[in-house]
Symmetry: C2
Subunit: 197 residues, 2 copies
């Protein structure tokens, strides 16, 4: 196939390469949720995705490469935090998204967090993904500053971690039963802390 920019030769987003990647990464996350890290492998991913084993091996090399690409693909979107008009509203909306991603025992996010304890490339990719998400969320704090809700000089990362960390702690590490009020409580606490000073 031509690498030049002919009408059909160009590898464009949504083309054959992108579809192969989407099938492979979908196979990775579904296998991970169903069988856990130990069920992941080049062969299983090739079989599940219908993509040739040699192609999977050439492009992703091993399980670490596959998992890292799951996060790279997830980060390649235009996600932005909701703009609700208030700091509290924005943090509640954010926390509801976090809560929804962690609530179910079969959630992809839970499975990916567990996998990050098995694979250094997966851990590095997960952390890069989260850092990018927290950076995008900094606008929640700067909008609150522009509205006069918060003074300048507030550490946006600190506020965002304060709001979200209790959800990860209670649902993932502590294994508490999911209760939607957790999302709102943690958002309210973060707003109280940052507006108290």
């Amino acid at each position: 196939m031509s690498e030049s920019a002919g009408t059909t030769g160009l590898r464009r987003p949504g083309g054959r390469t992108a579809r192969t990647r989407a099938r492979v990464l979908e196979a990775v996350t579904s296998l991970l949720v169903e069988t856990g890290f130990d069920g992941l492998g080049i062969d299983a991913v090739a079989e599940r995705s219908g993509v040739h084993r040699a192609t999977v091996y050439r492009r992703w090399r091993d399980v670490g490469g596959l998992l890292a690409d799951v996060f790279d693909a997830a980060a390649d979107d235009d996600w932005a935090p909701a703009d609700t008009g208030s700091l509290l509203g924005d943090l509640i909306a954010l926390n509801r998204e976090v809560f929804a991603s962690l609530r179910d025992a079969t959630s992809v996010t839970r499975a990916l967090i567990a996998a990050s304890f098995r694979s250094a490339p997966a851990a590095a990719a997960l952390r890069a993904f989260w850092r990018d998400r927290y950076r995008r969320c900094a606008v929640v704090v700067s909008r609150a500053q522009a509205r006069g809700e918060l003074p300048d000089g507030v550490d946006a990362h600190r506020v965002l971690v304060m709001a979200t960390a209790p959800l990860y702690h209670r649902l993932i590490l502590m294994g508490e039963p999911p209760d939607p009020v957790m999302a709102e409580d943690a958002a309210r606490d973060a707003v109280s802390a940052v507006t108290a000073g």
Copy 2:
């Protein structure tokens, strides 16, 4: 050996059984830190501890049983949170302990958290351990209420999670470089949040 309460026949704390347990559990944690979960097994633990394989198998059965007993043994102490005279002081002291336990890449706590993603009995035991620790810390909140620092009706668990969760999130899940100021910041934020209302 007699099971009756003779002067030497009684199995008392600090006796032979207790020493065997201590050697086995020390072998479990040191192997876990050195080799990770995959290096743990009845044979390796028997070899490292010098305790007979049949004894290890009979008493702990498998890796899940060994890990669960690590947490049971850790909970069997008289640990209590420091009483510094103020809510902020108590939470800073608590967070410094949490920070110290998570700071190093080779920490036992990190290794145990990672193992909890591999073994359901280990996860259940870790969560029971943490629940017990948080319950013991509730006195930090009740002392603050007795001093008039906090109103009645404050949810102690919510305050304690707010103070500690950012440390677990930043150091374990996000993999941020350990900075001792994290411990103090999170304690201050929790106090601000709970005294703002």
